[in-house]
Each structure stands twice: as structure tokens, then as C-alpha cells.
Amino acid sequence: MNKWYKMKHADMQKFVSALTEKWEVWVPYRIDGKWEFGIYDTGRDLDFPESVIHVSLKNLFFPKRRPIATYDENSKWSLKPVEPEGKPRIVIGLHPCDVAGIEYMDKVFLQSEHKDVMYASERKRTVLIGMLCSEMADNCHCTDRGLTPDATRGMDAAFARITDGYLLKGLTDKGKQVLRSEYLKKVDEVPDKKDWPAGRYVIASPEEFMEMYDDKIWHEMSDICLTCGICTYACPTCVCFLVTDENFKGKGERVTVWDSCQLQSYSRMAGGHNTRKTPASRVRNRTLDKFAYSHLRYGQISCTGCGRCVMVCPLKRSFPQLGARLTERIKDKKKGKSKSGARSKEA
């Protein structure tokens, strides 16, 4: 079944409704003008955005708040790990950049020495049916990160919108199994191939970035940053968390909670020392983490080019542009130019 199949728009609705019998189905919803994944209520109108979905899929695999153990003080503090559970799940309508994000999270949670069992379980129970983007939104720049908006890598199945419905294709066994449906019709059509624009935020190599560690530019770049945590929460590859106990009347849960390196509290240690006290040091950490540390550790830079950080930024500040600006500075430095002149007008 290495071919594309066609499904009418109305049939897609029926197809997805039918899936809910066995699966927990997640589809994009538009809430107050923003796209977000939610569990599909049968009968609700289905729609898919042409490109990036505002809220990333991170929460599905690595929730904001995730109990990992429970305890009861009355029975002398017995600590019980939370057993992963949940019925099989399908996510329909994620994009190539979302897959890239999940791939990166896999590296962090599954391929390191300490495997995250809960993440593994969430991954295992989920089938990914991706949608190929038909356009690039304002902040999209996956093409500069080695992706294409219509790439199918990492998906179990993929689909694309055409004028009178959708073209679908199973890619893995899991995906093919899901797609077994009476609504699919064999066709000869294939999704349009487009020439995607690139070169918006070309960035230097991780090694070159590392050389910028002691540069003065970080102060300049953090002048106008709030150092709130929203870009890290929106980012599909920011996976820092905090472990904390939550107690209520003698019973409690040990939970992991999203944390953010942009917050001052993140790097504060017992005794009060803070290794990243200045906004500049925090901005540097995130920039280098995305463009250099990630590569050094996992062989892949962790910016997927989804542009969500720009969308959520309270100041509409462009994080990818920081990378680009830095790259410009790296080039200038190499040319032996002085430090001035590299300042972009758009902070």
C-alpha cells in the first residue's frame, strides 16, 4: 500500500468518528482563533490548518504535570510508582515539525541511559497520522532546519488536503492498519510537490555557536527579553522539568512539572547561588541549547523551525532571528570586523 488513497471530506468525518470506538482520537480544534489538539467528540466538524498548530504536541507525551509516584504518610511514607496506562491513541493532523519535535524528545527520554518509562508508554500507545503542510505560515522556517513542510518522516500515516477531500497514505504497519477503511479509494493522484522557500533564518554550525559563548552580544540580545517561560512551554523540544511533591491531607503525589531555563528560579541552587542570574545568561542558555548543546549531545539541533516561540512571545520577539543575528555576528567576526554594525534593528 505504498500509494496514496483518496477520501472525501465528508467521509473523513465518518472515518474519524469510527476510530473513536477503539481509540482515543486527538485532532486539531480551533479555539478562539488558535489551533490546539483536543480529544475528538464524535460529530464535531473536522478541520485541519494548512500549517503549524499553535499548541505543540508536547503535552500529550510529556504533560505539564505528570504524577510519577504516590505516597501516603499514614502508612509510613510508602512510595508507589505510578503505572503508565491509557487506551491506544491516534493523533491526526500533526505536521512534519511536530514529528521532528517528537523525534527529539525520543532522543532525550528514550535513548539516554535512563529511559523514561512513562514517556515510552505514551509514545507506544500513540499512532501519528500527519498532515502535509500546504503552506508556510509567517513564522515557519522548517526549511532552514533540514525539514520540508510536506515531509512524511516519522509518521505512521500521512495525509494531504486536496480540493475535494484528502489524499492518505499508510507509512508504517501501525499506520496502514489504522487506514484500513471503506472510505478510501484508490487514485493515481499524488500531493502537489512545491518549491518551498528557504534561507530565512540560516544559522551557523553548533561549533561556531559555541565560540560565541563569551561574546558581549548576549547582553544586547537580552535587553528586551522578559525571560518569561512561555517560549519554552510552547517549544516542542524544551523538556526541562521539576520534581516536586504535592501533599493533601497526608496523601500526596510526586509529580514532574514543566520548568523553564528562562525563569530565574530554574538555576537557583540551595544556599541561594544562581548560576544564571542575569537575563543575558538565560537567553544565552536557551539559544545555545537550541542551536549547539542539543547537537553536541544528541546529534541534532533542537529547533524544528515551527516558529511557535515567536507566536507566543508576549513581545513578538523572534527567537529564530536571534540565531540568525548571532550567525551574522559570527560571520562578521570571521571577517575580522569590529563588533558594531551587527545590530539588527528588530530586537
Binding site: C228, I230, A234, T244, L263
Partner: protein, 281 residues
């Protein structure tokens, strides 16, 4: 605007200020953002109009730490938040030059910003150079607060619980607020855990109550918290409810009088005990 630009140019040139904090327009996109203007650059893209929503005061502490003297463009509401900064020793007045501009209101999402309807002063109370027209002060109306106050307690809780539940705890509201500057925010403290760090209703409720309470009598209603909230939680409602309360209880309109000590640390033996009583439902 022209006048102000000229003044800033002059101040930069003769070294009276090292940098100026103002609003810069990106000619390509028409977007306006806070930015730092330096001596050697042109001020042609410095603007002040209804697009200048941001409160620049939040950037001051970082800037005064790095520069000796900073010029800052101030709307009325932003100036009010500067009052708190000065009273609380966060910024030394000698390090700043306040460039007040008679604000005609700002626009957000295509319509006049909500906060402008409750504007207490269009000119900053702290000002070194004044530009534009200063208008007569009027009292904020807080019609949305009054609307909520008309609801029953259960309805009110339903209204807020829906919003609180959505909070992600990204702390953008805290970070953008000039008056939220604790070294270690109580929400980040683990021992004791007054506010649990996870984004769940009970902890979020604690966070929003504390945030609002800590700003009581200090909030200048610049509305930034609400503007930056990615979940669109109506945080101004809480701030305004307390601004209204502080005015009703102590007759104070925070930030409108330079050097006024925040009302919650003022000793007043004459407060009537009736302020401790609930409003009759």
C-alpha cells in the same frame, strides 16, 4: 512626537542620557516594539502613537544597572508604575530622565485597549520633560469589575475557575510586570509550598490570588499582564477589583502621587473597623 525625538536626540548627544528607552517601528512590518536607542543611531524610526502599548518601565532596572543615565518614554499608566518603582527603591530617580507624553490612548487587537477606558491619568506623575497634551484626570469606572460584583459568589467562582484552570504558569504576567520583581517569587519557593508549581486549578488559584494581592495598592493598571497572557486570562479584572477596593477602603489611587507609600504598608490608626466587614450580599 517630533519635539520629543528632538529632545532625546539632544539628550543623547550632549551625554545627559546614555540610552533612551522608547518605541521603535519596524518600517517593513509596521510593528512597534520597545527598544533601546543609542547615541550613534538615527531616531527616525522612534514613534509614539496608539500602537505603543507596552510598558517600558519593566526594562528600566536592567538598563540602569548597565548605564548611568537612561531616558524613558512614558505614558500616563506607565508613569504610575514608575512611582512604585521609585518608592520601593528599585530605581534611583537620579538615574533616569522621564519623558512624559500626553497619551491619547492605545489600541490592542484593532480596538481601543480596555485599560484606556479606566485611565486615571494620561500624563505620567513623574516627569522631567512633558510633551503633548495633559488631560484632566478622571476616575476609572471599572465597569467589568462591577459586572462581576453583581454576580453571586458561585457565579463568580465559576467565572474565575474557568480561567484559572487554563493558566500554564509561564509567569509571563509576572515577568512583564514592573512591580513583580522579587528575587525569589513565592511561587518558586518550595519550603513551604504555598503555591504548588504545577499548573492545576488549586495551585493556579493560589498563584492568581497572591499575584493580585501582592499588587494591591501598587498596580498601576498598565494592563501588561493581561496583554501578554498566552491563555488570555483576564488578570486586569483582579487588579482592578483591588484598585477599586484600595480606593474605596483607603482613598488611594496607586501611583498617581509621586513618593506616595503603598497603602498596604501605611500606618493609619483611623481606619474604621467596618473595612473588615463583608459587603452585604
Amino acid at each position: 512626537m517630533k519635539e520629543m525625538r528632538k529632545k532625546i536626540e539632544e539628550l543623547l548627544k550632549n551625554g545627559e542620557i546614555d540610552v533612551a528607552l522608547g518605541y521603535r517601528e519596524n518600517p517593513a512590518t509596521g510593528e512597534v516594539k520597545a527598544d533601546v536607542f543609542r547615541k550613534d543611531e538615527t531616531l527616525d524610526d522612534m514613534v509614539f502613537d496608539e500602537r505603543c502599548v507596552q510598558n517600558l518601565v519593566n526594562y528600566l532596572p536592567t538598563l540602569v544597572a548597565r548605564y548611568k543615565k537612561v531616558g524613558i518614554v512614558l505614558k500616563g499608566c506607565d508613569g504610575r508604575s514608575l512611582v512604585t518603582q521609585l518608592v520601593e527603591h528599585r530605581i534611583n530617580k537620579s538615574q533616569i530622565v522621564a519623558l512624559g507624553i500626553g497619551c491619547e490612548g492605545v489600541r490592542l487587537d484593532g480596538k481601543e485597549a480596555d485599560k484606556c477606558g479606566d485611565c486615571a491619568t494620561n500624563m505620567t506623575p513623574i516627569v522631567d520633560y512633558e510633551f503633548g497634551e495633559k488631560k484632566q484626570k478622571k476616575d476609572p469606572v471599572f465597569s467589568k469589575v462591577k459586572e462581576i460584583e453583581r454576580m453571586s459568589p458561585a457565579e463568580r467562582w465559576k467565572f474565575f475557575a474557568d480561567y484559572f484552570a487554563r493558566c500554564e504558569r509561564c509567569y509571563a504576567c509576572r515577568q512583564i510586570c514592573p512591580s513583580c520583581y522579587c528575587e525569589i517569587c513565592v511561587a518558586d519557593q518550595q519550603e513551604p509550598k504555598w503555591i504548588e508549581p504545577s499548573a492545576k486549578l488549586s495551585a493556579n488559584t493560589m498563584w492568581h490570588l497572591i499575584r493580585a494581592y501582592h499588587l494591591a495598592g501598587r498596580c498601576a493598571d498598565c494592563g501588561e499582564c493581561e496583554r501578554v497572557c498566552p491563555q488570555e486570562i483576564p488578570m486586569r479584572l483582579l487588579n482592578n477589583a483591588l484598585e477599586k477596593a484600595v480606593h474605596e477602603l483607603f482613598g488611594v489611587r496607586p501611583g498617581t502621587v509621586p513618593e506616595e507609600v503603598p497603602p498596604l504598608v501605611v500606618l493609619n490608626k483611623e481606619d474604621p473597623d467596618t473595612i473588615l466587614e463583608g459587603k452585604n450580599e
